[in-house]
């Protein structure tokens, strides 16, 4: 395994330390575990907490700062953080206005965050939650765990974060977060896998002419495998699924072309070139585009496209100031 690391057992710790040392103006690490909070804590606002396994950098700690998250909790690579870690995060940021947990829809994440909320509620802290489930690769069925939460989560952080920063109450912040969730859809594909450092093996293997379609963000295989195709055709394939899921016709959208970790920006822009053309053709107008690495899977080579359907409220919150290490607006 060829990586710029020192010790597989220290990857998460050293990463969080390196992050906090890079951005002390934004971030402070709690003493107990990999919990990062805003260094300029703002009082009297709803506090947002999110997190998940490590390996999604810059998510989630990179989004801690003005107008986004108040705390981020980082578990081991691709492993949800434990309830006590989340609980410490909640305690560090909780005020009278309450705490909103932004959870990505994974069994582990949901259970661990919910247990943390139970602990915090026992202390009298007001805790609400939203569960992001934007990945249209996975069927949303009553009989399964439902869709996964992937890159669309960053829009939830941004928009709910803006509402909280403006001083909205917890019901409003939760409602607007839920509105984002209801209106954002994502799908991705990859041509090279990633590996959990401690495992030392990739999550799947692909031949030189194969790609994995419908990937998640934990290095797991996607929903199916295909022959690789030109970038434009892959974009068309993903957009078709996304556009079929909710009615985007004649709407305005925010677009996120998210790199999975090792996809060169050059390719992400080539991808966006097609995304932009297809949306134009379909009469969907692009309000804002974000191209870059927002929710990664360590060194996976792949990308996802997210479309967030906007209304006036979401647009204005998207435009609000955000100032965090990895997202500035």
């Amino acid at each position: 395994m060829k990586k710029f690391i020192n010790d597989v057992a220290q990857v998460e710790n050293e990463m969080i330390l390196g992050l906090v040392k890079a951005y002390p103006q934004y971030l402070r690490k709690l003493d107990c575990g990999n919990v990062v909070v805003r260094s300029d804590r703002k009082e009297n606002k709803v506090a947002l907490i999110s997190g998940g396994g490590s390996g999604h950098e810059p998510a989630h700690a990179g989004y801690v700062g003005t107008g986004m998250l108040d705390a981020a909790v980082a578990g081991a690579v691709f492993t949800s953080p434990t309830p006590d870690q989340v609980y410490e995060g909640i305690k560090a940021i909780a005020g009278d206005a309450g705490v909103l947990m932004v959870i990505k829809n994974y069994t582990g994440d949901v259970m661990n965050f919910e247990m943390a909320a139970e602990m915090a509620e026992a202390d009298g802290i007001l805790v609400k939650q939203v569960v992001v489930n934007d990945d249209v690769a996975v069927k949303d069925s009553l009989y399964t765990v439902g869709r996964r939460g992937v890159a669309g989560t960053v829009f939830v952080h941004k928009i709910a974060g803006a509402a909280a920063e403006k001083g909205e109450d917890i019901h409003k912040v939760q409602a607007v977060a839920q509105k984002v969730i209801d209106n954002v859809r994502t799908m991705g594909a990859a041509i090279r896998p990633c590996m959990v450092p401690a495992a030392g093996k990739p999550g799947f293997e692909l031949a030189e002419d194969e790609m994995e379609v419908g990937i998640g963000i934990h290095g797991e295989p996607g929903t199916h495998r295909e022959k690789i195709r030109p970038a434009d055709e892959i974009v068309d394939l993903l957009l078709e699924k996304i556009l079929a899921d909710i009615d985007y016709s004649e709407s305005e959208v925010a677009v996120m072309v998210n790199g999975a970790g090792s996809t060169p920006l050059m390719e992400l822009f080539i991808i966006n070139n097609r995304v932009s053309d297809v949306l134009k053709e379909k009469g969907i107008s692009v309000y804002k585009t974000y191209v870059g690495e927002y929710m990664t899977s360590i060194e996976m080579e792949g990308f996802s496209i997210s479309l967030l359907k906007l209304d006036a409220e979401l647009k204005s919150l998207l435009d609000e100031k955000a100032d965090t290490p990895a997202f500035k607006a």
Binding site: G53, G75, A76, V77, F78, T79, S80, P81, T82, P83, D84, Y106, T107, G108, M111, N112, M115, A137, V138, K139, Y143, T144, V145, R148, M195, V196, A198, A199, K201, P202, G203, G216, H218, G219, E220, P221, T223, H224
Partner: protein, 206 residues
């Protein structure tokens, strides 16, 4: 089973999670995210570190605290689930110093209920429950028929292993493997597998 047996069983679990770490991780690489063995080994590694603290507790508290340590260190889906299982069993056994096989069965039942509630899962979804529930049923049945602990435990272990085999044949509808849909068929569930190792450790002390 007395306190000594419980401590020994936990030691055996710790050894098993360490020695099966790679195997369980490999299973999770195929249909999950490749961390189940790492997660379980981390949790039981912490239990090993806290062994001295645990050994001064009474039987029920040891079990409950094992659960709390698992919740606090394993993470992922298996952390809250196994953690809840041990915590429920410990709570159920509160006050008992010597555990009869009947106590064990009831504590196990309570653990399973905890897992089902926490995981919102039932049998046949390709999870640890597909080893737990058959094991529980087989032990109960053999116990009612023969009243023989050894036989009952063996029946349970065999059923858990069968359950693991069964997970190969079904589509996952809970946990990460569910994202694979049809592609999850043919592969055994990591959590069902790790449960079988844990049950083996318990069995050795009965």
């Amino acid at each position: 089973m007395n306190k000594e047996n419980i401590i020994l069983a936990i030691d055996k679990m710790t050894d098993a999670m360490e020695s099966q770490k790679e195997f369980l991780t490999e299973l999770d690489i195929v249909i999950g995210d490749g961390d189940h063995g790492i997660n379980m080994a981390r949790g039981f590694g912490e239990i090993k570190k806290k062994r001295d603290l645990l050994t001064v507790m009474d039987a029920a508290d040891i079990i409950k605290n094992v659960g709390m340590i698992l919740v606090a260190t394993v993470g992922g889906a298996s952390g809250p689930l196994y953690g809840t299982a041990f915590m429920k069993a410990g709570t159920f056994l509160k006050g008992k110093e010597e555990l009869s096989f009947q106590d064990f069965l009831e504590a196990f039942q309570s653990a399973i209920e905890g897992v089902m509630a926490r995981g919102k899962a039932v049998e046949g979804e390709k999870t640890m429950l597909d080893a737990m529930l058959p094991a529980k049923r087989a032990m109960e049945k053999e116990w009612q028929l023969t009243g023989d602990v050894k036989k009952s435990v063996e029946a349970g272990l065999a059923a858990a292993k069968e359950g693991v085999e069964y997970t190969k044949t079904i589509i996952a509808t809970k946990g990460r493997a569910s994202y694979l849909g049809e592609r999850s068929i043919g592969h055994q569930d990591p959590g069902a597998t790790s449960f079988t190792f844990l049950l083996e450790a318990i069995a050795s002390q009965m």
